[in-house]
Point group: C2
């Protein structure tokens, strides 16, 4: 279908280049977890987690595309390792909300202080 006849119906925003989507899948998070102790070959992951080999490979590919893991070939084994730096977007996203929370608390504190000052002003 030509793009100019585009219907308007489009599913999810064609992601998988997005860290948030990469970690959305339980199995993918399991793979990441399994890599915490350190570098592992695909086969090890397959037996550690109980997933099929193609399944693991595919998830590794997604994780790889978003940079959450890096691969190193050693002979015919492909060793994958975490790339923790790539969690940064997620970390920053989260931080934004903490910041917001703190700001709110600060404002509330200011408000309370203001109230107290008014109180003490009336008392003198």
């Amino acid at each position: 279908m030509p793009i100019w006849e585009y219907n308007g119906a489009m599913a999810r925003s064609s992601t998988t280049s997005d860290v948030f989507n990469a970690i959305a899948e339980t199995h993918r998070r399991e793979v990441l977890d399994a890599l915490i102790p350190g570098e592992k070959a695909v086969g090890e992951l397959v037996s550690d987690l109980s997933m099929s080999q193609p399944q693991v490979s595919k998830h590794l590919r997604v994780l790889s595309e978003v940079g959450l893991v890096k691969c190193r070939a050693e002979g015919r084994r492909h060793l994958y390792r975490l790339e923790l730096a790539r969690l940064r977007p997620f970390h920053e996203w989260l931080a934004k909300y903490e910041q917001a929370l703190n700001d709110r608390l600060d404002r509330m504190e200011d408000y309370l202080q203001e109230l107290q000052q008014k109180e003490s002003g009336r008392e003198t």
Copy 2:
């Protein structure tokens, strides 16, 4: 199709009760962002972000189901607010990796110290 003839092909693990999946969608994260300043009605969200009303409502529903937002009815307006406490799963998940990172650094330090001791032992 009867369940006992179940083929084996199953798409994603039927989520949407998973916080990680809830924030996987860009639009959903936009909704959350829009709520940072504070409680807002659906209509406000619709005009702030430029999304259709049903679209916003549906995303709010998902966010609601995983507890990331709470709703309060005021007349015919439905006011949604962030439920920051629900960000905790993210924190914990992230912490696991930061912990792992620190542990690795510690181990490396230990290793270096060990090396130094061996060195100094040989030097005496």
